[in-house]
């Protein structure tokens, strides 16, 4: 299981999952949080799951009672949370270096 290639879209997904590390996040929710279309989001989730950074589970509901099928939700694994924090921190560091004093002043 190799590490996934980190792109801007992958960072958005990781940041979205890190916002509430223990929370169950559905695909539609992540689409709204990240602004990514479904065609971009689901391949990223599949790669993160293959890498062991993310795991998925099926919602435990009675479809007949709810009137809709079971949804699949995603959450970060322990390793995934560590790796995600590392990558997001690395990106923040790079961005702050690129932005320079002006960017730091704005941030402050």
């Amino acid at each position: 299981m190799g590490e996934p290639r980190i792109t801007a879209s992958v960072l958005k997904v990781l940041a979205g999952l890190l916002a509430e590390p223990g929370a169950q996040r559905y695909g539609l929710e992540l689409m709204q949080d990240t602004g990514l279309p479904s065609g971009t989001l689901y391949p990223i989730l599949a790669r993160l799951e293959r890498a062991g950074w993310v795991e998925s589970r099926w919602e435990q509901i009675d479809p007949a009672a709810e009137g809709r099928p079971n949804r699949r939700y995603y959450l970060l694994t322990a390793d995934g949370a560590v790796a995600a924090r590392r990558e997001v921190a690395l990106m923040r560091q790079q961005m702050s270096r690129a932005a320079g004093p002006l960017g730091e002043a704005r941030e402050a």
């Binding site: 559905y26 479904s38 391949p43 079971n70 699949r72």
Partner: protein
């Protein structure tokens, strides 16, 4: 279920089918569940956006659109380059008149060699061929080179080559690819010339001969109606010249597409002709040859004991005769027999003496032959040594020169860097294309001058687009792209960053 739900569901199902087998059922169920959970305002638009994005986006293991565009762009550049090269070679061959078939064969060999190193698929080559044939005739000088003539030819050719290659791949027989492609070229030429044949009144049963005759110089074979007054109309232009047959106009038109199609076929077939079957076949040949040689040597060696057996048999006969002569002393009747036996003995002795002489002579001859062979080998060895010494001296000089040059080139390229080398190669290629392209043979604009060239099947065609600044710029850009790609491919660690799988 409304129309929107049906459309969205169909798009999601289609998208899921493109995913890997282990994920496809999971993704299908997940997406259908998400679709069902989309409610509230603008739900129709949101459902369509959700499903549409999945339908048009690459699956998890598929290349991204960016990578696909890079792949398609490279394929298109190679296809355009190969088509232009095939067209240049065809025009040069047609300009050489009587040498045209030999020049075309050289072109076939060259495009085959290129095809072994560079790959392109059939569709972009066919598209480039169509574009070239269509754009290469700015003045309607060729009477039957419209889209209605070119499109059937190129489509038939592309389909035929694709079928031939697929058939060859499924059967593992290389000759199927060659034979199928030959059939495709015939059919494509016939399809591209059907309109001309109908207008000119050339009988359809001559169609199988159009492709080979189109590659030959004019006046090889003439058929169809005879135009005695030598008047012809090319688009809006009128021309007059010597009397001609309809076949000469038909074949001149067919040749324009037949030549480039032949050369592009050689390029596309080249990878299929390098099957492992070729290696197996040559291995078989190699294993058969030594077996034959050994058998031949063995036969020669078995001949020697046979001769020895014959000699021994005759010697044994002489000894028997000698023993018989011992008992021939007393009776008179036996005297005659003894004389006969003595005569026979004498003959046997003579035979033995002759055989001995022959054997001595043979031995001497053999020794002389061995000596001559050794002398010859020594002479050959001396000559080889001399050549090797000359070659070594030349190699040494060349190596020294190469070392000096490579040192200079390495120093220059090190200063330039990878990007600089690519840009330099691209710039040089573009400037070269700008200089060479206007000199390429183009179709003439004078109808009276073109008619005789049509009749002797030597009319140049295409490259009319380089007379326009946009066309010339496109050729220069293409040359630059191909040169930069070639430099990139030759870099030791020149792995293309775009080739990595996207995340």
């Amino acid at each position: 279920m409304g129309v929107v739900d049906r459309v969205a569901r169909a798009a999601v199902l289609a998208a899921a089918r493109r995913w890997p087998d282990d994920l496809a059922p999971l993704m299908r169920e997940e997406w259908l569940a998400e679709l069902a959970s989309i409610t509230g305002r603008r739900r129709a638009a949101r459902k369509l956006a959700f499903a549409g994005s999945l339908a048009v986006s690459p699956a998890v293991d598929e290349p991204s659109w960016r990578d696909r565009s890079v792949i398609v762009g490279r394929g298109a550049a190679v296809a355009a380059g190969v088509t232009l090269l095939a067209a240049v070679a065809t025009n040069l061959a047609r300009g050489s008149e009587a040498l045209a078939p030999a020049m075309l064969l050289l072109g076939v060999a060259a495009l085959t060699l290129i095809g072994r190193r560079v790959r392109a698929s059939i569709v972009p080559v066919a598209a480039a061929l169509f574009a070239f044939l269509f754009a290469g005739n700015p003045v309607p000088m060729m009477p039957f080179m419209g889209a209605a003539d070119i499109a059937p030819a190129v489509i038939t050719w592309a389909v035929g080559i694709a079928l031939a290659l697929r058939w060859a791949a499924s059967t593992g027989r290389r000759w199927v690819a060659v034979a199928g492609s030959a059939v495709a070229l015939h059919l494509a030429t016939a399809a591209g010339s059907a309109h001309a044949a109908a207008v000119l009144g050339v009988p359809a049963w001559t169609a199988p001969a159009w492709f080979p005759l189109a590659l030959l110089p004019g006046d090889t074979v003439s058929f169809g109606p005879h135009f005695g007054d030598g008047a012809a109309a090319f688009g809006g232009l009128q021309a007059s010249g010597p009397a001609f047959h309809a076949s000469e106009i038909l074949l001149a038109n067919a040749a324009v597409s037949a030549g480039p199609m032949l050369l592009c076929t050689a390029f596309l077939l080249a990878p299929a002709l390098r099957r492992p079957a070729a290696a197996v076949h040559s291995t078989r040949k190699l294993t058969h040859a030594p077996t034959g040689a050994v058998a031949s040597i063995a036969t020669k060696h078995t001949g020697a004991p046979r001769a020895a057996d014959k000699l021994a048999a005759r010697t044994r006969g002489a000894a028997t005769l000698t023993a018989g002569a011992r008992g021939a002393a007393a009776p008179e009747a036996r005297a005659s027999k003894a004389a006969t036996l003595a005569a026979r003995m004498s003959g046997a002795v003579t035979l033995i003496a002759r055989m001995s002489g022959a054997a001595t002579l043979a031995a001497r001859t053999s020794r002389a032959a061995t000596l001559i062979a050794r002398t010859s080998r020594a002479a050959t060895l001396t000559a080889r040594t001399s050549r090797a010494a000359t070659l070594a001296a030349r190699t040494s000089r060349a190596a020294t020169l190469a070392a000096r040059m490579s040192g200079a080139v390495a120093a220059a390229t090190a200063r330039l860097g990878v990007g600089g080398r690519r840009v330099g190669a691209g710039l040089a290629a573009a400037l070269g294309a700008l200089a060479v392209a206007p000199a390429l043979p183009v179709a003439g604009r004078d109808a009276d001058a073109v008619l005789p060239k049509l009749l002797d099947n030597s009319a140049a065609f295409g490259f009319g687009f380089v007379e326009h600044p946009v066309g010339l710029g496109a050729v220069a850009l293409l040359a630059a792209i191909l040169a930069m790609r070639a430099v990139e491919a030759r870099l030791p660690h020149g792995k293309d960053p775009h080739s990595e799988a996207p995340t």
